[in-house]
C-alpha cells in the first residue's frame, strides 16, 4: 500500500490498522474516513489543529469512543464490540492522558501497581516489583510514597506513563501528553517518551510538539476536519509538505523547518 512507502521501520508487522474510520457526535462528524497504519516499533505522530479529530481517533483506538463506520484492527483482529473482549485488548494498550488522571487517593507507587493488581491479578509482590521498576524507569523511584498532589505536573505525567507501562502493553497511546504542562516540565516528559521510542515501543502520539514529532516520529499524519490531509515521514511533512493544508498549519505554528 502506498502509505507504507518510505517507512523507516515499515518492515514491522502492522499493529494497528485504521480503515475508513468514521465517528459522529450528533450532526458533527469528528472523523470522516481515516486510513492509517501503525507498524510495530514505530512512533506515529498525529498533528493538526484543535478539533481536527486526532484525539478522537486515539480514543477510538482503545474503544473509549465507539465508531460509526470503518474498521479498526489491532494485532490482526477487529476491535471487539464485546465489553469483556475489549477490556482484554485495553490491557495491551497503554494510554496517557492530557490531564494525567492519576488516582489522587493512591500514592505514586499504588497508582502504578493498581493495573497489574486489579486487572491482571498478578501477585502483590509482582505488582510491587513492576511499580518500583517502572517508577525507576521514569526517574521517579524516590517519589513512590508521594501522593499525586505532592508532585509537579511533569512528575505526575511520568507516573502516568509508568502506570501504563506496568501493564506491559504492546502499544502506547499518548493524548497530548504535554499540553497541560508548564513549559519547564515538558522536556522531562518528552525525554521519557524519547527513551521509550528508542527501546522500540510502538507509540501513537497526539501532539502539538512539532520538534518531538520531527525528531522522534517515524511517521506523521496531519489531520484537518476529521480527515488525514497528508501523511508521511517527518522529513516530507516538515520540509516538503505536499498539501496546502499542511503548509498552512505548520505556517500558523511558525514552523520554519
Amino acid at each position: 500500500m502506498s502509505v507504507s512507502v518510505g517507512r523507516a521501520k515499515g518492515a514491522g508487522a502492522k499493529i494497528i490498522r485504521y480503515r475508513g474510520v468514521v465517528k459522529r457526535y450528533g450532526d458533527f462528524q469528528a472523523l470522516a474516513g481515516v486510513d492509517l497504519d501503525v507498524h510495530a516499533g514505530e512512533v506515529v505522530c498525529l498533528i493538526g489543529p484543535s478539533g481536527s479529530g486526532k484525539s478522537t481517533l486515539l480514543r477510538c483506538t482503545n474503544g473509549l469512543e465507539s465508531i460509526e463506520g470503518g474498521d479498526i484492527e489491532f494485532e490482526g483482529a477487529l476491535l471487539p464490540k464485546d465489553e469483556r473482549a475489549l477490556r482484554a485488548v485495553r490491557t495491551r494498550m497503554g494510554m496517557v492522558f492530557q490531564s494525567f488522571e492519576l488516582f489522587p487517593h493512591l500514592t505514586a507507587h499504588e497508582n502504578v501497581a493498581e493495573g497489574p493488581r486489579t486487572v491482571l491479578r498478578v501477585k502483590l509482590t509482582e505488582a510491587d516489583r513492576r511499580a518500583a521498576a517502572m517508577l525507576a524507569k521514569v526517574g521517579l523511584a524516590e517519589k513512590a510514597p508521594n501522593y499525586p498532589s505532592a508532585l509537579s505536573g511533569g512528575q505526575q505525567q511520568r507516573v502516568a506513563i509508568a502506570r501504563a507501562l506496568a501493564m506491559e502493553p504492546d502499544v502506547m497511546l499518548f493524548d497530548e501528553p504535554t499540553s497541560a504542562l508548564d513549559p519547564e516540565t515538558i522536556g522531562e516528559v518528552l525525554n521519557v517518551m524519547k527513551a521509550l521510542a528508542d527501546e522500540g515501543m510502538t507509540m501513537v502520539v497526539v501532539t502539538h510538539e512539532m520538534t518531538f514529532a520531527r525528531r522522534v516520529g517515524d511517521w506523521v499524519a496531519v489531520f484537518d476536519a476529521g480527515r488525514i490531509v497528508e501523511q508521511g515521514p517527518p522529513r516530507q511533512i516538515f520540509d516538503a509538505p505536499t498539501t496546502e493544508r499542511t503548509r498552512d498549519f505548520l505556517g500558523h505554528l511558525g514552523w520554519t523547518g
Binding site: L64, R87, R90, E101, F103, P104, H105, T118
Partner: protein, 219 residues
C-alpha cells in the same frame, strides 16, 4: 426565684441511661443509613430505569417530609404495613434511618458525580470493568469527599434523635421532660438537658472539623 439543682443529681441514673439511648440511636441510625445511602445513590445513578425512578421517589419523599411527621407515621402506620408491632425504640430507629438514608443517598450521589469522567476513563484504559472502576477509583474518592458532609449529618442526627421523644422512646429529651413533669423543675432540667447535648455535641463538631482537614483530597 430559687433553683434546686439537686434534682439533676438525684435523677443522674435515668439521665445517664437516656444519654446512652440517644448515642445508641445515633450510632445505629448511621450504621443503617450509610450503607443503605450508598446503595440508594448507586441505584439512582446506575440502575435499570424503573429502579432508578423508585430510588429517586424514595429520596424525594423522605427528604421533603418533616422528620417528626415520619416519626409519627412510623409509629401509627408502619405496624399496619409490616403487620408487626415494634418497640418505640425500633420504631424511632426506623423513622430516623428512613430519613437519614435519603439524605445520605443525596450526599453520596453528589460525591459520585463529583469525580471527573477522566478518572473512570483512566481506569477503563487500564482494562478495568465499570464495576472495578467504581469500586477501586470512584467510590474511594467519593467517600473521602463526602466524609465531612456525613460527619455534619451525624452531628445533626445526634440532636434530631430528640424528635423520637414524641413516641415515648426513652432517650435523653424524653426522659428529661418526664423528670421535669414530675418535679416541676423546668429550668433546671432544660439546662441539664442542654448541657448534656452540648457537651456531647461540641466534641463531635470539633471532630468533624478535624476530619475535614484530615481527609481533604487535593488534586
Amino acid at each position: 426565684m430559687t433553683f434546686d439543682w439537686s434534682v439533676v443529681w438525684q435523677h443522674r441514673g435515668e439521665l445517664f441511661a437516656a444519654t446512652g439511648t440517644t448515642i445508641l440511636l445515633t450510632v445505629a441510625t448511621m450504621a443503617i443509613a450509610v450503607p443503605c445511602g450508598i446503595v440508594v445513590a448507586a441505584l439512582r445513578l446506575y440502575a435499570w430505569a424503573p429502579v432508578r425512578v423508585t430510588a429517586t421517589a424514595y429520596v424525594e419523599l423522605f427528604r421533603n417530609l418533616p422528620l417528626i411527621l415520619v416519626v409519627f407515621w412510623a409509629f401509627y402506620v408502619l405496624p399496619i404495613l409490616i403487620g408487626v408491632g415494634l418497640s418505640p425504640l425500633a420504631t424511632g430507629l426506623a423513622a430516623l434511618a428512613l430519613n437519614v438514608t435519603a439524605y445520605n443517598a443525596e450526599t453520596f450521589r453528589a460525591g459520585l458525580n463529583s469525580i471527573r469522567r477522566g478518572q473512570v476513563e483512566a481506569a477503563m484504559a487500564l482494562g478495568m470493568s465499570r464495576t472495578q472502576a467504581l469500586r477501586r477509583v470512584v467510590v474511594p474518592q467519593a467517600l473521602r469527599r463526602v466524609l465531612p458532609v456525613l460527619a455534619s449529618t451525624w452531628v445533626s442526627l445526634f440532636k434530631d434523635t430528640s424528635l423520637v421523644s414524641v413516641i415515648a422512646v426513652t432517650e435523653l429529651a424524653y426522659v428529661a421532660m418526664q423528670i421535669r413533669a414530675q418535679t416541676f423543675r423546668v429550668l433546671e432540667m432544660l439546662t441539664a438537658m442542654a448541657a448534656i447535648y452540648w457537651l456531647l455535641g461540641y466534641p463531635q463538631a470539633k471532630l468533624v472539623d478535624w476530619i475535614q482537614r484530615r481527609y481533604a483530597v487535593t488534586e
